[in-house]
């Protein structure tokens, strides 16, 4: 019974923790401009993140070491450094976007300028990272993030023409959009679904929670059930925007517009759920990205790390996280739009994807670390297919960003 509860809790937190500011904004933007014509990209991204998160979780459970430690050891310091530099910068950008997202949610509730909430949000993240237990922070934000199910409920409350909505799932480029913007947002959605920090956090979280080979079934259930259900939430966000914002030609540029369809569907009660859900999702992702910044650097340089250690015994790990938070706050206090940071962070994530995922595939095939738990033929075949997609997205991202003026 206890085991079953642990599995259920893991799945629920995986669903609630799947959506972050990148998924929220990108799905709403895409829904308001392309309808559900890009939903296939979310499905593709979810399959990809399931595949590689499962691989990195297996590496952690079997070897007892986080992915980054092994990447440096297996690929050498130079290749590891390229991976580290890209991952750390993208992670910092994502962290900035998440903290900005928390501030925007508080603005929605209070009407007070988000710049005043930015330092408080960052302080909240720091105090939780410093004081709270790993399982507590993961479970609390994941479970509260389930409030985002209100987006799926809103789709039903809006009483759509299901046939028409279903037809929207067929990939097509609307007349008002160009092919290049279509593919630019396809890459953004792909980057949002396969954000690198999710893999680092998942793998390092496995070490924090002391996973062993016995836990492989549970981790597989978390990934293979939780993430796809989280992906359905992402599609529900896009569907809400498709039903309410697309017909009125309201292109999403702010978080306040993302919640309008939910408010139209369910009024103030639905608004309550959606702000709790977005606050939990962005705050949870801010915690994860903050921890990921500490994990990546500490694991590369071989420093003591982890929340299972007292802060005094992992001082550099905690210092890195604090410095990361200060940088994020300073960037946001310049007045930069957190939504713009989010939009760029998902595209830059897509650019850096090969640096994150190629080493994971290499390590997951190394018998020296994995023993009999190396990838099977099917997983390797799928992994290679996804590598081709990842590299294609990475190569196309910059030209498309320039041609489309970042999706304008």
């Amino acid at each position: 019974m206890k085991r079953l509860f642990a599995v259920a809790l893991g799945i629920l937190t995986a669903i609630g923790g799947f959506v972050d500011i990148g998924d929220l904004v990108t799905n709403a933007v895409v829904g308001s401009r392309f309808g559900l014509g890009l939903a296939w990209v979310t499905v593709l991204g979810v399959v990809g993140i399931c595949l590689y998160a499962n691989m990195s979780g297996r590496v952690a459970a079997v070897s007892g070491r986080a992915t980054f430690e092994i990447i440096r050891e297996r690929l050498g310091a130079r290749a590891g450094m390229a991976n580290l530099a890209a991952s750390f910068l993208i992670n910092l950008m994502t962290m900035t976007a998440e903290i900005g997202g928390v501030a925007l949610v508080f603005q929605l509730v209070t009407g007070i300028d988000p710049l005043l909430w930015v330092p408080l949000a960052a302080f909240g993240v720091w105090i939780v990272v410093w004081r709270a237990k790993f399982s507590a922070l993961e479970n609390a934000t994941g479970l509260l993030g389930l409030s985002l199910i209100v987006f799926a409920v809103a789709v039903f409350l809006l009483q759509p023409d299901w046939g028409h909505l279903g037809m929207q799932l067929i990939p097509r480029i609307p007349e008002s959009e160009s092919g290049s913007t279509y593919w630019y947002y396809a890459i953004a959605l792909f980057g949002a679904a396969m954000t690198p920090y999710e893999v680092f956090f998942f793998s390092s979280g496995g070490i924090e929670e002391g996973w062993t080979v016995k836990d492989l079934g549970q981790t597989r259930a978390n990934v293979l059930v939780g993430f796809p259900l989280g992906g359905i939430l992402s599609i529900a966000i896009a569907a809400c925007a498709t039903l309410v914002l697309l017909p009125q030609a309201i292109d999403v540029t702010s978080l306040s517009q993302v919640v309008l369809p939910v408010v139209q569907a369910g009024g103030t009660i639905a608004f309550g759920f959606v702000v709790v859900g977005i606050a939990a999702a962005t705050f949870g992702a801010a915690l994860e990205t903050t921890l990921s910044s500490g994990y990546t650097l500490a694991q590369y340089f071989g420093w003591s790390w982890g929340k299972f250690r007292r802060p005094a015994r992992a001082a550099r790990f905690h210092l890195i996280m604090l410095i990361g938070l200060v940088i994020a706050v300073l960037v946001l206090l310049t007045g930069v739009d957190p939504i713009a940071v989010t939009e760029f962070s998902v595209v830059f994530s897509a650019i850096a994807l090969p640096l994150t995922y190629i080493p994971i595939l290499i390590v997951a095939n190394d018998r020296q670390y994995m023993g009999r738990h190396v990838n099977g033929k099917l997983v390797n075949a799928l992994g290679l297919v996804f590598l081709v997609v990842i590299v294609a997205a990475s190569v196309a991202a910059i030209p498309l960003m320039i041609i489309t003026g970042a999706g304008q």
Binding site: G111, Q248, D251, S256, L260, G267, T268, M401, Q408
Partner: protein, 138 residues
């Protein structure tokens, strides 16, 4: 050829250059500014309607209006600064955007006091949003 050590240092300027290039590459400034302004004004109309129906809260509505006002200002600024070959269209578009901004500001003032938007202000929002949509699609 930069040394390997210099590559991480060059990453920052390269990133900034990319963002600038992405920011510079826009389509027709009249069309894109009208589209941006129409979207912003339509979101104000929707938010004000939801407030009137008792579905939206006052702070959330204020936030939507503030966000949309920022978009209107951005549309006006980018249109005003961009050279176009369609001077008459550009002036007409600027007029439409300024009318929309005036209507949005009037609604914003009413949201501060008395906390609701009058029928007259709501009608102005509707009219200006329709004008922008019409101009954006013509």
């Amino acid at each position: 050829m930069p040394s390997r050590r210099a590559l991480p240092i060059l990453a920052g300027p390269a990133l900034a250059g990319l963002l600038c290039l992405a920011g510079c590459a826009t389509g027709d400034p009249v069309d894109s500014s009208l589209k941006q302004a129409a979207a912003a004004q339509s979101s104000i109309v929707l938010a004000v309607d939801l407030l009137g129906e008792g579905k939206a809260t006052l702070p959330a509505t204020r936030t939507t209006v503030d966000d949309a006002l920022r978009e209107l200002a951005s549309a006006e600024q980018s249109l005003g600064e961009s050279p176009t070959g369609r001077r008459i269209d550009q002036i007409a578009a600027l007029d439409d955007i300024r009318d929309a901004t005036d209507a949005a500001l009037a609604a914003r003032r009413e949201l501060d006091d008395p906390g609701t938007v009058s029928r007259h202000a709501a009608a102005d929002l509707d009219d200006t949003a329709s004008e922008l949509r019409k101009a954006a699609t013509s």
